[in-house]
């Protein structure tokens, strides 16, 4: 891209018409923030709508699973064990004789909850620690960076097995806590880098020259400009955290029955893959589509927020 096309587009707005006459207002000259611009870019991407629809659907059924599933996921009958698809039970039954369709629908809730809690936790903890370490530098940066290095060094599955077996809990809360604990360093690194880039900009110097304090500089000048990579990474991470929950549950250290989770169902189905492949297909498919939707959404958001990253 030639270096001056940017200028080309910017250089059009006349300050005051040369003769002092009012300048005709063009629609494109309306106040337009960078967030508006990003939204405009996003709103023209089919991928954004597809992934957003999938995610919206997922959230709706995780709140009201009854909307599309009339049965109780825990009401099972061993007579139906491993039965294939039939009318009224299009996805068939699992080992315990539970309806696969109903369980897949109800399983969304655990995934969404873990995904949202851990992402929120990681984003807040990582952004705050990474942001402070990037902004203040010095010994604070050294400490936070070294601590995050230590957490980086822990293999996530091994850590999960050890930590989650130790706390003996199999709830959404414990799994989310574990993910937050091991997930924040990565976001902290991203936030730290973004803050360091932002703090070297002249507008931060200008604010300092006006006498602005650290709080104002961080909140008004640095945070809004360092937010984009944090948002992008968090969106993609939400998908990977959902798959991490499924993995941990699969390994038997995440959520545990009677909780309903795709990971638990995949684990049960894996043992019976030769006899009843239909048991694996639906929860695994739901998981893949969900993770894919978040990754695609993250990509679309990144393209919109920072066209240069493409």
């Amino acid at each position: 891209m030639p270096e001056n096309t940017d200028a080309v587009i910017l250089d059009g707005v006349p300050a005051v018409a040369p003769d002092g006459a009012p300048v005709p207002v063009d629609k494109r000259d309306k106040p337009r923030s960078l967030w508006n611009d990003a939204w405009y870019d996003l709103s023209r991407k089919p991928i954004f709508y597809i992934s957003a629809l999938v995610i919206l659907f997922l959230i709706v059924i995780s709140i009201w699973p009854g909307l599309i599933a009339s049965q109780d996921p825990l009401q099972c009958n061993l007579i139906d064990s491993q039965n294939g698809p039939s009318s009224g039970h299009w996805f068939g039954f699992d080992q315990q004789g539970c309806d696969v369709y109903t369980r897949t629908v109800y399983g969304a809730r655990a995934s969404v909850e873990v995904g949202i809690f851990s992402t929120l936790g990681v984003a807040v903890l990582g952004a705050v620690l990474g942001g402070l370490s990037g902004y203040f530098g010095g010994w604070l940066d050294s400490i936070i960076s070294r601590v995050s290095d230590i957490f980086f060094g822990i293999p996530i599955l091994l850590g999960g097995v050890v930590f989650l077996s130790a706390v003996k809990g199999g709830s959404v809360l414990t799994v989310s806590t574990f993910i937050i604990l091991l997930g924040w360093p990565q976001l902290a690194r991203i936030a730290r880098g973004a803050v360091i880039t932002a703090k070297e900009q002249d507008y931060v110097l200008a604010a300092k020259a006006l006498g602005a304090g650290h709080g104002r500089i961080l909140l008004r000048h640095i945070a809004p400009n360092a937010l984009a990579p944090v948002i992008v990474w968090s969106t993609i991470a939400l998908g990977t955290f959902i798959s991490l929950e499924a993995t941990l549950s699969f390994l038997g250290v995440g959520l545990k029955p009677p909780a309903v989770s795709w990971g638990i169902d995949i684990s049960a189905a894996a043992e019976q893959i030769r006899n009843a492949p239909h048991m694996l297909l639906w929860p695994a498919g739901a998981l893949s589509v969900t993770v894919l939707a978040f990754i695609l959404l993250g990509d679309a958001v990144r393209d919109a927020l920072d066209p240069k990253l493409r």
């Binding site: 059009g12 707005v13 960078l34 602005a212 400009n225």
Partner: protein, 378 residues
């Protein structure tokens, strides 16, 4: 401290009026005579900034220092413009940051009305900041892209609420937009909706908001197109007269510095090589570096290219981490002798000119200072 007002200071507008009418050299002399009995508003004494070079990850060990600014002294008088010129790496931008207390000086003092601002912090520093403001070089990075123009120009009032009562602020911002030649209706727009020249006007409006006495301009027009540069320079001159501002105008474009400055200092490798009135520096330079710098400027006149004597310096500027001994310019200087390597020339009026009345009688840091007409009759 005096109450901030938008009115003119009668005392120094007389000086600027005198300059506007009279022929250049006389005006400069008249201004110099006036300066002599005026109290400087800003006095810079032996300002030093060394950036340490460190090695090691955990235990940091200093292995040297980049001597960005190494003993700079000058005065700034009310209502005048002091130009500072020099090539990249000469330390001129670091001087700006030191004056703004954006960097901590390694040594030296900056007296603002008798008070050393390098030692200030907290509330006292904040109070001084109201009187010394800055206009930045790059209009694209000096405005926060996520804030509206109104928020950017209004921010000074958020930080110094005593300057403008809350209900008054929007009106003040609109006034400021009008003062710098922008349509006040643009108050809700974002920086990226403006061109470079317009953004620089926004930056100037922000600098003016607190009614400062001194504005430090760090290359304020070098990022702008030629046709827009003149507009911004005119605006700055107009504002100077209107609000009785003192400018420190840092730039590498010699013709613009000459146009706007009353006095000019030439910097080389962290030191001032020569300082004097604009006519003294441009027409009677005595330091070889100033002479080379002036002769190297391309002149927009093709007729001049055949019969113009150019001093083309060899080599590059040495690293400020390891400056030459003695005179810092000696490695590129055609006059250099053994003495230049041993003895550092001080910035003073050369003894040979001390007793005579000549425009060459101004401070120059060279052992062999002498006149050489490099700009020709221009």
């Amino acid at each position: 401290m005096s109450e901030p007002t938008l009115s003119k200071d009668p005392e120094s507008s007389a000086a600027t009026a005198a300059e506007a009418g009279a022929p250049v050299v006389e005006a400069a002399e008249a201004a110099a005579a006036q300066l002599a009995d005026r109290e400087p508003i800003l006095q810079v004494r032996n300002l030093v900034k060394h950036f340490p070079l460190t090695q090691g990850i955990v235990v940091k060990r200093q292995i040297g220092a980049v001597k960005a600014v190494d003993g700079v002294s000058f005065d700034l008088y009310a209502g005048e413009t002091l130009g500072i010129v020099g090539e990249s790496g000469c330390g001129k931008s670091t001087v700006a940051k030191l004056l703004m207390s954006l960097e901590q000086a390694t040594a030296g003092e900056v007296f603002y009305k008798g008070q050393d601002i390098t030692k200030l912090s907290g509330r006292a520093l904040k109070a001084v900041r109201r009187n010394i403001q800055m206009v930045f070089q790059d209009p694209y990075t000096s405005l926060n892209p996520r804030m509206t123009v109104g928020d950017i120009i209004g921010e000074p009032f958020d930080i110094h609420p005593e300057v403008a009562p809350k209900g008054d602020r929007r009106k003040r911002v609109e006034e400021l937009l009008d003062v710098v030649g922008l349509n006040p209706e643009y108050i809700n727009r974002y920086p990226h909706q403006f061109s470079g020249g317009q953004r620089q006007r926004i930056g100037i409006a922000r600098g003016l908001a607190l009614n400062p006495e001194i504005i430090i301009c760090d290359e304020p027009v070098s990022a702008l197109d030629v046709s827009v540069q003149a507009q911004v320079i005119n605006l700055m001159e107009k504002l100077q007269d209107e609000f009785n501002l003192s400018y420190i105008f840092i730039a590498h474009d010699l013709s613009i510095v000459r146009h706007i400055s009353d006095r000019v200092g030439v910097m080389y490798l962290g030191k001032i090589a020569e300082i004097g009135s604009d006519a003294e520096i441009y027409e009677h330079p005595t330091h070889p570096y100033t002479q080379a710098l002036l002769s190297a400027v391309p002149v927009p006149d093709p007729e001049a290219r055949e019969h113009r004597e150019r001093i083309i310096l060899s080599g590059d500027v040495p690293s400020p981490a390891n400056p030459p001994s003695g005179c810092r310019f000696r490695t590129r200087c055609w006059k250099a002798e053994a003495r230049c390597a041993e003895e550092e020339p001080l910035l003073a009026i050369p003894t040979r000119f001390a007793e005579v009345d000549t425009p060459a009688k101004h401070e120059s840091a060279c052992h062999f200072a002498e006149e050489k007409d490099v700009v020709g009759a221009a």
